[in-house]
Each structure stands twice: as C-alpha cells, then as structure tokens.
Symmetry: C2
Subunit: 354 residues, 2 copies
C-alpha cells in the first residue's frame, strides 16, 4: 500500500464541483432514459439495497421517494435474502441497488434474487462493467471517475445528484429536463462556493483534535448527511462518531450528551432544518459548544456555523452541498491526528460481504 | 423525581419470564384476532413506525416479515409525513406502529395520515387507552404492565413476543395456535434460565467499568439485539455505544476498532450467528477481548461468552432471550458507574417528538 497521506482524498473532495457538472452532462441522458423505463412499469413500492457510504445515498433516495414520489419505500437488509434465503413477492416493486464499486457479493446476490422475484431492478454504480451493473435489468454509471481514496467523497455526491436526476422525473409536478439541467448547474456552483469557505472547517478541526467521541444529528433531508459525516469521521479519524435523527436523539441517546461530547448538528434553511430548532434548544442546555452545519435564522445564541451555500437550490439538493464541509473536516482532522485518510487501517476500497 | 437507584429496572428485568407468559395468555387471543383481520386484507407491503427501543422491535418485525412472510417492508421516517406533509399512496399497505407509551405525537400523526392514505393501520402498544391505539384501525395491548424505569426492558421483550404471535400466523407453513402456545411457554422458560446465569454478566460489567465507548454487532435476527443493547448502554451508562450489522461493520467502521474498544458480538446458533463467524475472525485480529453473546460452535479461540438459553426455540425467538444478559449488563454497569438507570439524565419516560 502506498502512503499518499491523504493526497487522493483532498483531490477528490476538491474535484466535486467538476464531477457534479459531469454527472449532469454525461450520466443525465441515461438517467432520463431509465426514469422513463421505471415510469412505464408504474412501481408501487421501492426497495433500496446498499452498504457503507452508499447506504446514505440510499437513505437520501428514500426521503425523495416518500416525500416527492409519494411511494412507500424500505431499505433492504441483504441478509434476509443471502443468509436466510428469503424469496419475497416483488411484483410492482422497484429494487434500486446503489454501490460505488458494484462488487459486493451480497448486493449482487440480492439484485439477482429480487429480479427472480419479479422486481424491476436498477443498479446505480460508479463502475459500469461491475457485476452488479450486469446483474440488474437496468443500470446507470454515475461518472464520478476513478476514486482512489478508500474514504468515498466524490462518488457519494455523484450518487446523490444521479438519484435526484433519476427520481425527480417520476414526481408529480416535478422539474422538467430544462429545470433539472439548471438545478444541476446551480448545485455544481454551490459546491464550489461551499468548498472555498474552508477557514471555519480548520477552526473546528483544531477544536476537535483530541476528541474521542462525537455526535451528529439532523432531520429530514439533512439526516443522510449526519449519517455520512459520522461514517467519514469513523473511517478517517477512528472517532466514535454516532449519528441520530433529531427526533430519535430525544428518545434515549440524549442521556449521553454532556459538555465533553462534541455535537455537529446539520440545520440548513428548509423544513428539515426548521424541525431541528427545538432539538438545538435541548442540545444547547447540555452541550454549549454545539456546531451547526448550514446555519438558519432563529438559531439559539451565537453558535459556531460551518457555512453551506444553498443559493438557487431546492431543499432536496441541500444534501449534495451540506456534506462538503464535513468531508473537509474529516480530512483535516485525520491529518491533524496523524492518520492517512487515503488508506484507513483495516479497510479496503472494495468490501466484499456475503 | 424519586431516586430509586435502579430498583425499578432490576425488578422489571427480573419480571420478564412472568411477563412473557402473560403476553401469550392475555394478549394472545387479541393478537390472533388481529392477525386474521390482517390476513383478510392481504397486504402486499408493510411499513413500520416507531421510535427509541420500539424501533428495535420494529426492526425485528421487519426481519420476520421479509424472511417468514415474504413481503417487502420498510421502516418509516415519520418526518416525511409530519415535517414534509407527504401523503403517499398506501393501498394494500399494512402500517404497523409500535410504541410503549403510545404517546408520541409524530407516531400518532403518522398513523392518522397512513389511515387517510388507505393503509390498514395497526398499533402495538403497552397502553390500550393511548391516543396511538385510538388513532389506529386495530390495536393490541401487549400487557407488559406498567413500566416505571425510564429504560425500557420488559415492554421490549413483550413487544417482540407479541409481534411474533401477531405475524407468524401470516407465514406460509407457520406454527398453528397450539405450537405458538408451546413456543411462548418455551421462551418464558428460556428467559428464566438465561436470567439465572448472571455471574458472567458481572465479570463483563467489571471489565467495562472504565469504558467510554463500546461497539455491538450481529447479523440477521441478532441485529435488533445489537441495536437495543447499544441504546440501553447509552441511556443507562452514558457510554458511546455503537451498533453495526456485521456486514456494515466491514464497510467502514472496522477502522475504529482497536484493542482499546470493547466489542460485544451477538452470535447464537442459527443462520444469523453462523454468518457472524467470518466477522468474528476479523474482529479478533483487532480486538482480542471480544465478548460473544450466545456462543456458538466453531468460535475462534477461547472467547468469553454471555450465555443465552435457546432450548426449544426457533431462531425467530432468539432475540427475546439474547437481550436479557445485555439488559443485566446495562443495569450492573450503570450501578458500578454511579448512575441511576431508573432515571437517566435528560430523559423522560414518554418522549414527545413532532
């Protein structure tokens, strides 16, 4: 293993504005074609299968599907099919598999089983020649380009935008092709503006240098960001980072929060961010040094903020930019702590699970 | 608030063999009746709504539904309906809400919305006069009896057994009423045997006395146990306890594991436990002091085990007993650390979220 000391991760974080533009330009036509094929089959239920970072892209898709498509959806536990041999009745089901590498055997087997059980299977990968892409009836390459750091960054934001472009044409009153192209251009620009504002990230990284644990929280469209940020901090900094929806936090884990536990709350203007206001009030009583990602009017007191540009974006696209300062934080904190974010101990780029 | 120093939690843990017998005897007939009503409506998809400990009962139900009923299922994010006002098409959907108190406004609103959207709504609560029970078309009282400790124990195992008795009559080739009664008697006896073996729990509690973080892991039917154990340790001991499916662990969080991080792996003989063998091998390389809950043949080396009695039980009922030594561990560790597990800081028994 080469010791690149995070050079790959840094480059891949910085590349995201260009990657997002490429997703729209190069994957856009295929995404529109697959969207039409899905529409023709009129699915009534959506299942999502994924692992790791892609699980958070799947969670994002679940919110889009429930809120904008008005369809019930569920995240699959692959073990039900691979360990227990379940063969459910999947007529009228869209089975969406999301994976950077397209190489994990349990996902490939789940897609094959779902296809046998009558589902329309669609794979969203960053590797069009993967076994997962071949196993699914339809597949899309998100065109993030080769990702060399083990910690996924650009493949994640590319998945988010690809899922938005795939699913929004299925929403009643959703954006047309021209509007989608405009939104994709706006998200690329917002990503550039957000990445350029990194001085606040450095201050938070310094403050967290000695932390052993950390908590992230959000609601609604912000929740996948909280989950992905926690995973990134676990992978690159070996921090015990835990993510909770703002509501779930109040049902138990709040007991752990004290002045010693750093908390990162995602709250960007929008319904999800506004629903966090009451949670932020409760958190502030226990952890005065709370950091808010995004920042919204009506925040209690003078909380430190990691700014996120959301100019011209619908709330559904906020997750693409909200994760960026948190990727930068993971990278900077790993470097401060002497870890190599390109090659975390104990991990390989393609994880094979059964 | 009275300072009962964990007397309620200790009593409620010990009461579980009797509670499980009562669930079968007193809730059994109503569960069978609701099962017949569900069968008559032939649902094609199942959605589950819950918060906190009940979320882990919902996750258990999801495995039962996917594996034994062969139906696709999903865990609802209540915010999609309550924060974003989503009104999905829920014809042919069974919407199952699980809550100890039946008092959280977001669950009540989700059930009302799901009912308006065409779902068959069923509430499983420990409070038959709750607003949640009234909001649902059908409801079942699990009959765990009043629970006074904030950390839920007997209401959780009562929910698990109630869900088993509710759902298994819908499984092709599932147990008949006589077999269900025998299984319920066996699980009550297995709970008694498991609770009586608490010396190993005391040894693990002493070993974890200074721990700040902890990791739990399992696969398949054991996974809800890993999740619930982590929540219990967070609530009562303020430990940074994190739960991962054995497969997800390999996709990132494994990087955090080192000899300083205590790991509790649930692996009881059965398909889920056997699927953990490869994960245990990987974990052992990084954390030699791994503790196994359950214990199964072929375990690497001389790992310490928290024994679980599963005599006469199908794997689907293992979760009812697997959680018991972990409840005892949470209680004992909280007491060793000087916390009051009956009244964790920052929590109330009924959590109201919107």
């Amino acid at each position: 293993m080469t010791h690149s000391d995070g050079a790959h991760m840094a480059a891949e974080i910085a590349e995201q504005p260009a990657v997002l533009a490429r997703v729209a330009a190069e994957a856009g036509p295929r995404l529109a074609e697959v969207a039409r094929a899905i529409q023709a089959r009129r699915p009534r239920f959506v299942l999502l299968a994924s692992r790791g970072t892609s699980d958070h892209a799947a969670l994002y898709a679940k919110y889009l599907i429930e809120i904008r498509l008005g369809l019930p959806a569920g995240l699959v536990s692959p073990s039900t099919m691979t360990v227990y041999g379940s063969r459910p009745e999947l007529r009228d089901v869209l089975f969406l598999a999301i994976s950077q590498s397209g190489g994990s055997p349990d996902l490939i087997d789940s897609v094959s089983a779902a296809r046998d059980c009558g589902a329309l299977t669609v794979a969203v990968t960053n590797n069009p020649s993967s076994e997962l892409a071949r196993a699914a009836e339809l597949s899309v390459d998100v065109r993030a380009g080769a990702e060399r750091a083990v910690a996924a960054t650009k493949s994640y934001t590319a998945q988010l935008l690809a899922l938005y472009l795939l699913l929004m044409p299925l929403a009643a009153g959703g954006p047309d092709n021209g509007q989608l192209a405009e939104q994709a251009a706006a998200v690329s620009q917002a990503a550039r503006t957000t990445l350029d504002r990194s001085e606040e990230v450095s201050a938070v990284a310094s403050a967290y240098r000695q932390a052993d644990r950390l908590l992230t929280t959000a609601r609604g469209f912000g929740y996948p960001t909280a989950r992905e940020a926690a995973l990134k901090l676990m992978e690159t900094c070996y921090l015990g980072a835990q993510a909770f929806s703002g509501a779930d936090l109040l049902h138990g884990p709040m007991a752990m929060v004290d002045a010693e536990l750093p908390v990162l709350a995602v709250a960007t203007p929008g319904a999800g961010g506004r629903a966090m206001l009451a949670v932020l009030e409760r958190l502030r009583q226990r952890q005065p040094a709370l950091v808010v990602v995004g920042g919204l009017p009506g925040l209690p007191g003078e909380l430190p903020v990691l700014p996120v540009s959301t100019e011209g974006l619908p709330e559904e696209l906020f997750p693409v930019v909200e994760i960026l300062p948190l990727q930068q934080l993971s990278y900077q904190l790993a470097r401060l702590r002497g870890a190599d974010p390109d090659a975390p101990r104990g991990l390989a780029k393609v994880t094979r699970t059964w």
